[in-house]
Subunit: 437 residues, 2 copies
Amino acid sequence: MQRASDSRTATTDSGSRPRVVVIGAGFGGLRAARGLSDVGVDVTLVDSNNFHTFQPLLYQVATAGLDSDDVCFPVRAIVRRRPAVTVRLGTVTAIDLQQRHVTIDHDHLLTYDYLVIAAGSVSTSFGIPGVDEHTFPLKTLNDALALRTHLLSLVEEVHASGGVEHDLGIVIVGGGPTGVEMAGGMRELLDKVLAKDFPHLHLDRVPITIVEAANRVLGAFKPKLSQRAERALARRNIRVEVGVGVASVEPHAVVLKDGRRLTGQTLVWAAGVTANPVAKMLGIELGRGGRIPVEADLSVLGYANVFAIGDIANALDPNGTSLPQVAQPAIQGGVHVAKQIAGRLAGQPGTPFAYHDKGSMATIGRNQAVAEFPRGLLLSGALGWGAWLGLHIVYLMGFRNRANVLVNWAWNYLTYDRGSRPIISIPTNVLKRSETR
Amino acid sequence: MQRASDSRTATTDSGSRPRVVVIGAGFGGLRAARGLSDVGVDVTLVDSNNFHTFQPLLYQVATAGLDSDDVCFPVRAIVRRRPAVTVRLGTVTAIDLQQRHVTIDHDHLLTYDYLVIAAGSVSTSFGIPGVDEHTFPLKTLNDALALRTHLLSLVEEVHASGGVEHDLGIVIVGGGPTGVEMAGGMRELLDKVLAKDFPHLHLDRVPITIVEAANRVLGAFKPKLSQRAERALARRNIRVEVGVGVASVEPHAVVLKDGRRLTGQTLVWAAGVTANPVAKMLGIELGRGGRIPVEADLSVLGYANVFAIGDIANALDPNGTSLPQVAQPAIQGGVHVAKQIAGRLAGQPGTPFAYHDKGSMATIGRNQAVAEFPRGLLLSGALGWGAWLGLHIVYLMGFRNRANVLVNWAWNYLTYDRGSRPIISIPTNVLKRSETR
């Protein structure tokens, strides 16, 4: 880091400091901004939210296990002690790689010397009819709150109208960690929490089904762990349909490619993501899933001053396989590109990104998780769950959030209860009022 | 309580148990339902929210000091261990005192033998033009979240558009505890928290003004405490305009009766409340502020089996003055009417309600509150603040909420920081989805 320090000293005239724009304050963008905060550049971090979202725990917000505020952290507070970094709240509406500028909200130009694209991914329907209209995605904090409001309102409606538990069926499309964790979280919410609130409804009998096109859930894990997860799901009365795709979605049913209709009042779409549409603004040919093709050093093909990291980048491992769209490649990519930019400034050539797989985890519920670590270490059951809890606390941002999550998890575990779970819907006139300015 | 216990034993056939409907799950309604849960009656508790709101701390949600979930508690969890109490989520749309039934959501009838009306109060414009359109009230959790979203978005907008701190003016109408606590909370949010996030805006210079029609703030307190509060507000650079009413409200200004216009981008209405419109459904003559006239035992004039408590009731103290519309009269009223109904069942005459004033408190901010207790004990400054903190924790419902509030307050106090403060707006299509069922 001697080089970086020299670089800063050499450019005390901030007017002449190179300008870096980082798009996205997710895991990757934050690490990049942090790494760039002391290498003698001015960084502008752009995000459409004023908060960083800890996406791995969104399913707990949707199932009322955590408060919405626990899984987010204010972006401005993160970079507060880094004067080289400024935050711009806004949506990227255009990128011009030739002129080297990014347009925010159609009317504000940010010019750059270096650009880091870390805009992540969005839920995609893969073009399947009815998905956008009739299913709940789970990629954003608003998604999680919308799903929570829907679930809690639905149980109240069924209770008030004298309905039965089969009016509450849940179908989750996608057997990856998000789908499996949602299913487990919903089963606990229904069986352990709401069952006490609605003693006349047999909420433990609400049908929950996971649909997965591959031939097992948690396809990114070792087959042994998939089997354990499927057994744990079966014990929780969660049905798993593997090896069958979705043909279409109707208002209250998922239609499978084999012709079967799985009815439900809550349809969750956890089947996959595609690169954030920001990628299309580059005007270059994109890879699988709309991801941006990158060189070994994570610079965008043909643009040595532009980098793409995380879910939006099509970085490859040594076998030529795309890296998984999870937190670790983004975090490590952010650290890497900050070093690349510092290196460019010092006239050094790029160095290749080497991804270190730290493992994967998914929890099915209380005392039950599967975890896969390097060197073939596999954990499941209570041990896996302990690892899951510990690592999520460690990676969560901010002391206050960690303390609150610990309080809530301890409460949930000891009492089999959940948080305040208010049914809230912020009236849209908030936005209207703001627009009258 | 021997009588109550006998009564329960005598009516094990639940079909013959008297039916009590309690309207409202606020401080009063919850106490009434709790008191009635073991006296041999079936209780239906009706509320339009699935949660009880701890209104005294709503201003902290609006100013990002606490999470929304910390100040509410699920109604069904409160009555879970009281099988005599069932909860009906819904809005009361009609009350028929002759036929003895309450209509929920236009289509569901609840018949009663005894009725407890504890629907509280709502914010009122007093007919002043522009109030409903251009000011933010602060009576509900949604109000608090809407105001927080507005405030945080506005600072971002002013920052993005190159505006200055005077584009952020705040005018609060009403110098009671709500107005004073809001002003203090907003000053701390601006000076201590957002000032660090937006170092180029001089947020400590954002003008905050309290307008109060009476000749001092905190008119319900001893004049000495009002003076101390006004000095504390002045030290925090909060302007106080007393002795002048509001003529009208424009999109970005409060027009005073003396002709002056106080401009601001955030206009808060904390000037007063009126009884919940449920009172009008009784078809009887109402008292001042739309409140329901009650006998000494809190039964509604002319209806010995109907009771009104809390903000919606016009209960009088021995001097003939209406009781204040705060938590204590509601709490004590709820305990009292439960006993009255048990007494009626046992053939006993009504007994008069004796309100015990336990004091009043209001905080201006960090280390600063005024508190007035019986026997002339007055506290202010850090001592008052300690009392304020302690009693709010004690009265807050639920261990989990208390633990979370303690964590957040400790964090806020030690770091001069606040919570995650996400700008969120739940899309209205949540409700649409639910309606498609």
